[in-house]
């Protein structure tokens, strides 16, 4: 009786392994089919109130280049340097990608660059803060994921401050990512 029960379970287990393998094969085929369809990214950049003259939008609005001014010993704020919107409810966060130059004397021309994510209620929902220590840029951790609803618009507010006595023409390039899931 006990052997019979074990035999039953073994057969059942084999059937389950077979079904799992079969399911995986079906999934693979479906995946190959879906890659053939190109669709617009559901989260993308759009111009904000301060974008004119500073924003160079990339193809498909999935890349945004911002040309920002900085003045010595002055905090210059762009309330809406660029905005982010969505066609479906998603979660997004800001994360650091790169900052150049770094570990270089030119870095000391800057005090800080702050990217703030601002919602329609003018509330900050995420922040990436870069600041300098001598010739080094201190890079931030990613923000937490926040929800963006379909049709909602979030502003990217940028604050940039150059050091007192900063050299005219000194520059920095910061690349950040908007991670979507």
């Amino acid at each position: 009786m006990t052997h019979r029960r074990h035999l039953d379970l073994l057969v059942l287990l084999l059937i389950s392994v077979f079904v799992v393998s079969a399911s995986a094969a079906v999934y693979y085929t479906m995946n190959a089919q879906s890659t053939a369809t190109v669709s617009a990214a559901p989260v993308y950049f759009i111009a904000g109130g301060d974008s004119s003259g500073i924003l160079d939008p990339g193809t498909d609005n999935t890349y945004a280049r911002l040309s920002l001014n900085a003045y010595p010993n002055v905090t210059l704020t762009y309330d809406q340097a660029v905005n982010i919107t969505a066609t479906a409810t998603k979660q997004i966060r800001l994360s650091h990608v790169s900052v150049t130059p770094n570990n270089n004397a030119s870095v000391s021309n800057f005090i800080s660059v702050v990217f703030r994510l601002i919602n329609a209620g003018d509330t900050e929902v995420g922040r990436l803060m870069y600041n300098t220590t001598g010739n080094i840029w201190n890079t931030p951790s990613p923000t937490g994921y926040i929800m963006i609803n379909s049709g909602e618009e979030l502003a990217v507010k940028v604050e940039i401050k150059a050091a007192a006595g900063a050299s005219i023409g000194a520059s920095t390039t910061i690349v950040i990512a908007v991670d979507v899931k």
């Binding site: 029960r5 059942l12 287990l13 389950s16 079904v19 799992v20 399911s23 999934y27 989260v43 950049f45 109130g49 301060d50 004119s52 999935t62 890349y63 945004a64 280049r65 911002l66 040309s67 920002l68 001014n69 900085a70 003045y71 010595p72 010993n73 002055v74 905090t75 210059l76 704020t77 762009y78 309330d79 809406q80 340097a81 660029v82 994360s95 021309n109 800057f110 660059v113 990217f115 940028v158 940039i160 150059a162 007192a164 006595g165 900063a166 050299s167 005219i168 023409g169 000194a170 520059s171 920095t172 390039t173 910061i174 690349v175 950040i176 990512a177 908007v178 991670d179 979507v180 899931k181």
Partner: protein
């Protein structure tokens, strides 16, 4: 007794079956309910430029203009109630701006019975920007005032204190690009004895 043992075995077998079905479901659905993830990139390129608006010394009180002429400290240490003018705000470019004062911190202002900071020039008249009456703010942020092309705005003060201690008011001079929300903040410190 034997009947109960059989029943127990049936229950155990059912649990096994349900567990297997559950494992199967999880295995199959793992591929189907995957999360789509991607990133879009923003590149910020900042370049240090010459400030278009600069601070210059006034003719009343003592003003220290710091490096780059984008921050200043004003000291009114005489027993004169009116100081006109303690600073000049000079537009060195043909662009027009809107400017205002915003007090963001203070020390020992309780002794100030009257402290008023104004903008004025020959074309726009006088605009009260900061007001402290009997130790409390009655105006902490001024209204926007036009700084025209290559124009100058003068900063004047009226002050009265109840004793000879020292008070400090920390103020941003905000310079707004018209029709935008892009603005610069210059730090001004007013020391009042």
């Amino acid at each position: 007794m034997k009947k109960e043992t059989l029943k127990f075995r049936k229950i155990r077998r059912s649990i096994w079956l349900v567990s297997l079905v559950f494992i199967l479901f999880c295995s199959v659905s793992q591929g189907v309910v995957g999360t789509e993830k991607y990133s879009i990139l923003s590149l910020g390129h900042g370049i240090v430029g010459s400030p278009p608006v600069l601070l210059e010394n006034g003719t009343a009180g003592t003003s220290i203009i710091y490096m780059n002429s984008t921050s200043a400290r004003v000291n009114t240490n005489a027993s004169i109630p009116t100081y006109d003018y303690v600073l000049r705000i000079v537009n060195h470019v043909s662009d027009v701006w809107k400017i205002r004062l915003k007090a963001y911190a203070q020390n020992n202002i309780e002794r100030l019975t009257n402290c008023t900071i104004n903008f004025h020039n020959s074309t726009n008249g006088t605009s009260q920007q900061i007001s402290i009456l009997n130790g409390s703010y009655t105006l902490q942020t001024g209204i926007w005032y036009d700084l025209k092309s290559l124009d100058t705005v003068y900063v004047s003060m009226i002050r009265q204190a109840s004793d000879s201690q020292v008070s400090e008011v920390f103020i941003y001079l905000e310079i707004l690009t018209p029709n935008r929300t892009t603005y610069a903040q210059y730090v001004l410190t007013f020391e009042i004895t």
